[in-house]
Symmetry: C2
Subunit: 153 residues, 2 copies
DNA sequence: CGCTTGCTTGGAGTGCACTCCAACTCTCTA
DNA sequence: TAGAGAGTTGGAGTGCACTCCAAGCAAGCG
């Protein structure tokens, strides 16, 4: 895996990220503290440690005194995890996916299956939301121009 | 409120619903048992009673022996509630909305506000989901045609 | 050196949305 | 009229995803 490939799932390459901290740092110097990861991902430090405990993270490198040092690879994994979480994938499923990644290339088919199933789920949810959006638009219209309000709720 | 208006948020008027039970029944004979409501809404009886306890339902009519008898109006309210729940509106917010409905017409502005805020929320969520859908599509492509797999996860 | 701020751990606590339980009563069919 | 199957209640329990706590170690600064 090369540097450019690694960065592809991160933000565009540049010397600084939005809030002024250097990000991403080039591979080799990519040893972020937990608070840097908090700043970048929006996840809490509690949550990051908890993710590790439950097996959702690969082994995180440590400083000589035992503090966590996250790599670019860890951040890109967290990017994926955050996206999946945001779309409602249960933590247990993500742990399963993490296990598959850990087991190596022969688990490609099962990973694919898991992803495809989740995509179906996401598509269904989008449809549901758009459905409700129509109901909301209708109700909002009714309330906005409340001319002889035709419904009770 | 007339029959046709009441039915507008229910399914199309017809003598039977999908599973053969008469639905909706004409106003006046609309006294559904809890299990009929379960069959129609997909909510559990537990949940229906719990909704009532927390103030999410208006007062439900009772038979002479104290059993619940739901009306068409109750069903249409449940339809709305289910849609809002499905789109992630917290139960507490729905309870607030129910209170406003209960308080009368002078709460129209606040109801409108609540609905508009939720609509914004739903729109944002749709955008998020579509964003992730793109990531999923990309990953699935990678796994599906796994020619020298370019990523580790 | 002392001070502040940050990081560590296992285990306990929280909030939400149900979900179930026990011990009944009621309704319906044979 | 007997028995099966719904319905009733308040309160306790469950599962998920965090979230916090206490007690202690570590790093940087004047």
């Amino acid at each position: 895996m090369t540097v450019t490939q690694e960065s592809s799932t991160l933000h565009a390459i540049g010397p600084m990220c939005a809030d002024g901290t250097p990000f991403p740092r080039p591979d080799g110097q990519d040893r972020y503290t937990i608070s840097e990861v908090v700043a970048h991902t929006g996840l809490s430090a509690h949550t990051l440690r908890w993710y590790e405990r439950i097996g959702l993270m690969p082994h995180i490198d440590r400083s000589h005194t035992g503090q966590r040092r996250y790599s670019n690879k860890d951040l890109s994994w967290l990017d994926l995890v955050s996206k999946l979480r945001l779309t409602g994938m249960p933590v247990a499923d993500m742990v399963r996916y993490a296990e598959l990644v850990n087991e190596g290339e022969h688990t490609y088919p099962e990973r694919l299956e898991l992803l495809v199933a989740h995509r179906e789920d996401v598509r269904k949810r989008i449809a549901e939301l758009q459905d409700t959006l129509a109901v909301l638009d209708y109700k909002i219209d009714v309330y906005a121009g409340a001319h002889r309000a035709p419904e009770r709720h």
